[in-house]
């Protein structure tokens, strides 16, 4: 029995390979960069041809932007169902999958029909187990047979990110403000504390919807998912939409005037109080160290 995995650089693909190996089959892989620049229809076409030849029981990919995109194209081409962001998939007829909803705030068990089984694996949800390297599919011969229509959608240009510094997703410390900050100007004390800690500033969805901060600062299910060593949430209630973005933080410190706010029991550390007083006091205390 064969299984086929679409791979990219990075941990999410290792997680997809781990789940694929658990099917006890011979694991084959196709690299996402078999065509560069990225051309999602072309990769889906090659994946389809490779699947025609290998007759895999399942095709896996990481649930990344590109992984979900290409697998949905493969599903559309083949008329097969697709389960995105699974955390478990047991072989069978039908296959039993457990998958993420609401950015991981909810899990769903579901039955998945169709052969081969098409799934993407939710990033950072499967413990990586080392195993034999997969047999890499030689994409060369499929490339020659590509339909030109499958090259219509291809990256034409790449724009580098503005400014320098670390991205929100990669920051070691993030200081975020929510509704409790009260205004655009209110972020001055958040920025001050972030500056002292060498941290990036983040915010909740309420803040970007109000136009106080750009969307690129938003931590959450529809913003950026972060995994810093420390996340300081100031005046943020801790709605599921927000927690879906920051649950990867090693430690969370919540500062909130409402001791009953959900975040006050979801954090590692809490301070009850008005952030407009507490945050400057912390900044002042840090200055004493320097």
């Amino acid at each position: 029995m064969n299984v086929l995995v679409l791979t990219e650089d990075g941990e999410p693909s290792e997680q997809a390979l781990t789940l694929a190996r658990s099917w006890g089959a011979t694991v084959h892989s196709l690299r996402m960069d078999a065509i560069t620049p990225f051309a999602p229809d072309a990769i889906a076409a090659i994946l389809q041809r490779a699947a025609d030849d290998l007759k895999p029981a399942a095709v896996f990919a990481a649930g990344t932007d590109r992984g979900n995109d290409v697998m949905a194209r493969l599903a559309a081409r083949t008329g097969l169902p697709l389960a995105a962001n699974v955390v478990a998939a047991e072989p069978g007829d039908p296959v039993k999958v457990t998958r993420q909803r609401w950015g991981g705030s909810l899990l769903e068990t579901a039955t998945l029909h169709g052969s081969p089984t098409l799934v993407t694996v939710a990033p950072y949800s499967v413990r990586i187990a080392e195993g034999a390297a997969p047999a890499e599919v030689d994409a060369g011969r499929y490339l020659q047979e590509l339909d030109p229509r499958d090259m219509l959608v291809q990256v034409r240009e790449h724009i580098d990110p503005p400014g320098g510094g670390v991205s929100l997703a990669e920051a070691k410390v993030v200081v975020s403000g929510g509704r409790g900050v009260g205004s655009k100007e209110g972020f001055a004390i958040i920025e001050e504390l972030a500056g002292l800690l060498g941290a990036r500033v983040g915010c909740s969805r309420v803040v970007t919807s109000a136009g106080w901060r750009p969307h690129t600062d938003q931590v959450g299910q529809t913003g950026t998912k972060i995994s810093p060593d420390l996340y300081i949430a100031c005046g943020i209630s801790g709605a599921t939409q927000h927690m879906a973005g920051c649950k990867g933080a090693k430690k969370i410190l919540a500062i909130n005037a409402d001791p009953e706010a959900p975040i006050m029991s979801l954090a590692d550390y809490s301070v009850v109080g008005d952030l407009k007083e507490v945050v400057p006091a912390i900044s002042a205390e840090i200055r004493k160290l320097k």
Binding site: D41, A75, G104, H158, D268, Y269
Partner: protein
């Protein structure tokens, strides 16, 4: 330009996910509903394109009778008319949702194609990541996903995708399908006159048959795990020294 925006009605979840007794849905009795966030930006973008260059914008949803609220919300922001594929409230998987949408688009396009069809990159609730692409393939149109920038340039559309390390740019011919993400724009708030106009705009409803589901929901669960043990460091500004001590302990100050 003739533009279609496909949206989904989803609940506003608060601090906690509470399941209905049958564990097949969220308990929504105490929740409000909204257009799934990515799609709100699709609505805003469609309205802006038509405001700038003329044409017609249409909003479509597949959902229960109550989803007409989200269609009115979209029309309050400036969408011209609505199509409602009414369900009995049971869930439709991505495959059957796409098939129903394709059928109604084909009927609509007897009078000319939609130049641009907007979807959200994924719905906030089910997160299937596939309806837009399935529709694009069925219609034989190019599709680009996860966009934070959409700009119509003559007979083409320039698409910008946030990669986390800058942006990838695609240029594809119209008609095309695009799936967008929150951050594409900052959606406006509906005005009172906008709401009044929306109440008079046409909604065409039909009830497609729900096919056998190839991805069938069995049960929902709230992920458990040990969670975090919360340590209260203090109250008010006097907590600052304890906070800084903690920062030093974990090595960030």
């Amino acid at each position: 330009m003739k533009i279609l925006v496909c949206v989904k009605r989803v609940p506003f979840t608060g601090g906690k996910m509470v399941l209905a007794p049958d564990r097949k849905a969220l308990e929504t009795r105490h929740l409000g509903f909204t257009i799934s966030p990515h799609e709100e930006c699709g609505v805003e973008e469609a309205v802006r394109i038509v405001e700038a260059g003329g044409g017609e914008s249409v909003v479509l949803t597949l959902g229960p009778a109550e989803a007409v609220e989200q269609l009115r919300d979209a029309m309050a922001l400036g969408i011209d008319r609505a199509i409602h594929l009414q369900t009995d409230g049971s869930e439709w998987d991505g495959e059957s949702t796409a098939a129903a949408i394709v059928e109604v688009i084909r009927a609509e396009e007897a009078s000319g194609p939609f130049d641009l069809i907007f979807f959200g990159n994924e719905s906030a609730d089910a997160g299937g990541y596939q309806v837009g692409l399935r529709v694009a393939y069925a219609l034989g149109r190019p599709a680009v996903t996860g966009l934070k920038g959409v700009k119509v340039e003559g007979a083409k559309v320039r698409c910008e995708q946030d990669t986390g390390a800058g942006r990838d740019v695609y240029v594809v011919p119209l008609p095309a399908v695009v799936t967008v993400k929150e951050g594409l724009n900052l959606p406006r708030y509906p005005s009172v006159p906008g709401r009044m106009r929306a109440a008079r705009k046409p909604v065409v409803a039909s009830s497609p048959a729900r096919p056998e589901q190839n991805l069938g929901l069995v049960e929902l669960s709230v992920p458990g795990g040990p969670g975090r043990q919360t340590r209260l460091l203090g109250s008010g500004p006097s907590a600052a020294p304890v906070v800084v001590e903690m920062l030093r302990e974990i090595g960030v100050a």
